[in-house]
Amino acid sequence: MDKLITHSPILIIAIPLLAAFLTPLISRANQKARDVLVITTLAFAEFLVIILARDICANGIHIYTLGASSPTLTIPEQYMVPVRIILEVDAMSIFMCIIWATVSLAAAIYSLSSMKEETGRDRFYTLLLLMVGGTFGMMLTGDLFNLFVFLEISSIAGGALAAFRTRFADALEGGLKYIIISTVGALMVLFAIGIFYAQYNLLNIAALAQVIQYTMLDKIALTLLVTAFAMKTGVVPLHMWFPDTYTVAPASITAMLVISSHACMYLLFRICFSLYGVTLNMATVGWIIIILGVLSMFVGVTMAVPQTDIKRLMSYHAISQIGYMWLGVGVGLAVLGNPEALATYGREAISGGIFHILNHAVYKPLLFLTAGALFYRTGTRDLNRMGGLGHSMKLTSIFFIIGTLSISGVPPLNGFASKFMIYESVYRFNPILAVIAMLVSIITLASFTKAFQSAFMGPELSAYKGVKEVPKSMIIGMGIPAAGIIFFSLFPGLIVDWIVHPAADALINQATYINAVMGG
């Protein structure tokens, strides 16, 4: 068991990759065996993530040096800088891993039925496992170039999956758009890595953070990194690809793409907090993030209201929700240089933003999966052509209601808990921002009420007389995030204390992050 915990960071990445390499061979032999392999792999990854999370709660940052003679030997003997690739797992990265493991498991179970009619399913599952492994790599690595490599794995696999239904021209265009955006972003990241390498001859994040001097070149690199990750996260001036890709991808893949864009947001926070952190007063960067966040909140929700395509509507809402996270964490970043403000409301704002990532990562996949269920049964995404589905698809409509109430921040549900944390702390930073945030929340509720009304309420349409509830595995796939929502709504305090505050502290305490690798 100890050995398993020691090696768990690498196993979390390597096991999905190994399974992905095996999938083409196994699916030639037996289709059932392939499904079993996929689900077992993801369940095992989830198990590893949980035991690693428990270990991190108890013992702090977990270090794993690849190829060294001992996992914790970060720096070769009698030398001063790390040479090998190091995986560095702190509370924030494991927080993202928990989300990713759960959502990908739910999405894979959902796909078992929802993709049954499609051809080329063995390729689908191979790509799905590759995307899982790649995104885990992004979250766990402590090395900049390694980060770039896994960013590319995740985005290539994601783009290919988004284009999976090749019989629709839209799907291909959505996938191509995603890959183009990702490639431009990844090349910007690579250029920034080159700049760091040119100045310091280092690639490890912690080692770089120790020596970084905030020269002109570092500013350029920061700009490139922020632009690249903002592009992949889908905040407003760079959001054009976001609805196009999300609308056309299969529902389970859309749910996963949401989380992988959150992973890019995590990378942005990692760069701002852990790499630059104390070397400068981050107020400017913080304000840029706040402004982008407020802009996305507002533009996202206003663009969502007139949409009639259900997944497009949800995509614009996703942009708007991402704005909340940027607002929360941006406020924290803006006061990072000011210990007093940080203690009174900065930490709370960061926690609010992070908690919102968690909440968004359960209700948005749930909503996309219900949209997929509607598409599965009705064959359309157009809200005007749906109606009365509440009679025949009872469970789906219940899941949709849960998701809707949660995303609009209606009080007893978890969306409210995180939004309230953001309102409260942002209000003390700048009241206007908090008012905008509340306003956006109200518009969100209005927009989703309309969507629910047109899809589920009203008389049963004759076109959908024979519509039945979706198959069992899709129900389970939707049930996992729904159970998450209910659990987080019942015990928000517990969740905040267990995983959200440690994650926020891990971001704030740059010194711990550096010392874990550099020692001393």
Binding site: A14, L17, A20, F21, P24, L66, G67, P76, Y79, M80, V81, P82, V83, R84, I85, T119, G120, R123, F124, T126, L127, L130, G133, G134, G137, F145, N146, V149, F150, E152, I153, I156, A157, G159, A160, A163, F164, T166, R167, L172, I195, A198, Q199, Y200, N201, L202, L203, T215, M216, L217, I220, T223, L224
Partner: protein
């Protein structure tokens, strides 16, 4: 409107690039603390005469795994895109 935004972002980007080339270290004289270690110890630690191979497969072997995975992903993606349509 779109043209202006394009021109603005392009010029900002190029200004960045030029600025970067002006302040970067002179060509041919890079800092080299990490690489010196690798040049010195690659033979004794990995047994390979070719230091680049030693870096690719040993010091940064995980990157190579990722790289191989990307190629695998691309091949899977291409084959998936050109898969035969289901016979109706």
């Amino acid at each position: 409107m779109r043209k202006i935004a394009m021109a603005a972002s392009l010029s900002v980007f190029i200004a960045f690039l030029i600025a970067a080339t002006l302040v970067i270290h002179p060509f041919g004289y890079p800092p080299s603390q990490m690489d010196d270690y690798i040049i010195e110890n690659a033979q004794s630690e990995t047994g390979a005469n070719n230091v680049v191979t030693a870096v690719v497969f040993d010091y940064r072997g995980f990157d190579t795994l990722g790289e191989a995975t990307i190629l695998f992903t691309a091949v899977t993606g291409v084959v998936m895109l050109f898969r035969r349509k289901k016979r109706e």
